[in-house]
Symmetry: C2
């Protein structure tokens, strides 16, 4: 085993350990999100007469449905003990589920705006969010056509891989920024909060950020050499 190979093995192990951290922070974020929405807020219901209950579906599905599952899909090459081809299909399929749940989550925000007569897509949060989601769908389609269909020659795949991985990481980064700006926007709308609710929201934001960083490190450490 030469030095390069030894480094690859070592950073591969570090990357695997970081996926455990990602699961800790991701699970913590889901728990805090549910505590926030169910205990401090009105709960979740897409078909409710209460616009707030409709809205609350948005943060839940955008984090648990979209960001968390996209992170799982990104880490599948480390966490799923199966041959490469199977990992690839899981990577693609979990991303597809994330996109579908993300669309329902976006629908919840638009439905809330409509019920309340608020205009759409004016805030920084919404701009970054729509940009991220559109580029994410594009990345999924490009990934399908280059890496899953047998047509693309090896040279094209090798060239596209660096951009696919770096671009995917950038999209996770953008999704986390969207989540945090969304939390800040909601806090701004809610005005004065109970001290305990403010704390829950801050720890939720931190957990989401640390989830994103862990997913990112699990990809970048393994690819370092």
């Amino acid at each position: 085993m030469d030095v390069h190979e030894a480094h690859r093995v070592r950073y591969g192990r570090s990357a695997l350990r970081v996926t455990i951290l990602a699961h800790v922070f991701g699970t913590l974020a889901i728990i805090l999100l549910l505590v926030w929405l169910l205990h401090f807020r009105e709960g979740l219901d897409l078909d409710s007469d209460d616009p707030n209950r409709i809205f609350n579906v948005h943060p839940f599905l955008m984090f648990f449905g979209f960001i968390f599952l996209a992170g799982e899909a990104m880490m599948a090459y480390k966490t799923v003990g199966a041959e490469r081809k199977v990992q690839k299909y899981i990577h693609m399929f979990v991303h597809l589920v994330a996109i579908v749940l993300g669309i329902v989550g976006l629908h919840a925000a638009f439905k809330f705006h409509e019920k309340r007569g608020i205009s759409n897509l004016y805030s920084l949060h919404s701009w970054i969010g729509i940009g991220t989601f559109s580029l994410f769908c594009l990345q999924w389609l490009l990934g399908m056509s280059v890496f899953l269909f047998p047509g693309a020659p090896m040279e094209t795949r090798a060239r596209a891989a660096a951009w696919h991985v770096s671009g995917g990481r950038a999209l996770m980064f953008m999704a986390i920024c969207t989540a945090l700006t969304g939390l800040m926007e909601k806090v701004g709308f809610l005005g004065q909060l109970r001290h305990s609710e403010a704390r829950v929201i801050n720890f939720l934001g931190l957990s989401i950020l640390l989830f994103g960083i862990s997913v990112d490190l699990s990809v970048s450490l393994a690819r370092y050499i």
Copy 2:
């Protein structure tokens, strides 16, 4: 030249091109920030009697002084045409300047809070910001002691390099999240904005995000293979 070497050269070139993008978005962000603070807001002055003028030093120094310079320091290995040792010292020194200007920028926020009788460090923005800044200083000290002083053996350096690069990228990511949550927080405090000011703030946020992504890609693309 073997395949690995050819890829390294190609992605090295892509990484260099991405540094140009980083300068475009970084410069755009600085211009928009100044338009916002000087035209729409009260201007900048750390010694003013107007607390708002004191506060405005904060976003300016945290972006131009801290994030933009830290990005320049991260890209120095690509943009500075000098031998490795010189690049290393520039990388270290520009980060030091970023830290010093960042401290002045933080001081501006605390001074504003004091003048207005607002409590410190309660928001998600402040939590992420203080965390990022503290870890950034720690990273700088660790980097100094491992890579600049001649004591550390090559094996330690090689092992630390992967974490230094991945950790540095994570810190840039956290700094961008802090900037965007800060913008959202300020928008929440300001309440109803003129349409044109809201647009400037949104484009400013987008430019900051795209600066961060470009800096990140310039590091990760070059290291892909």
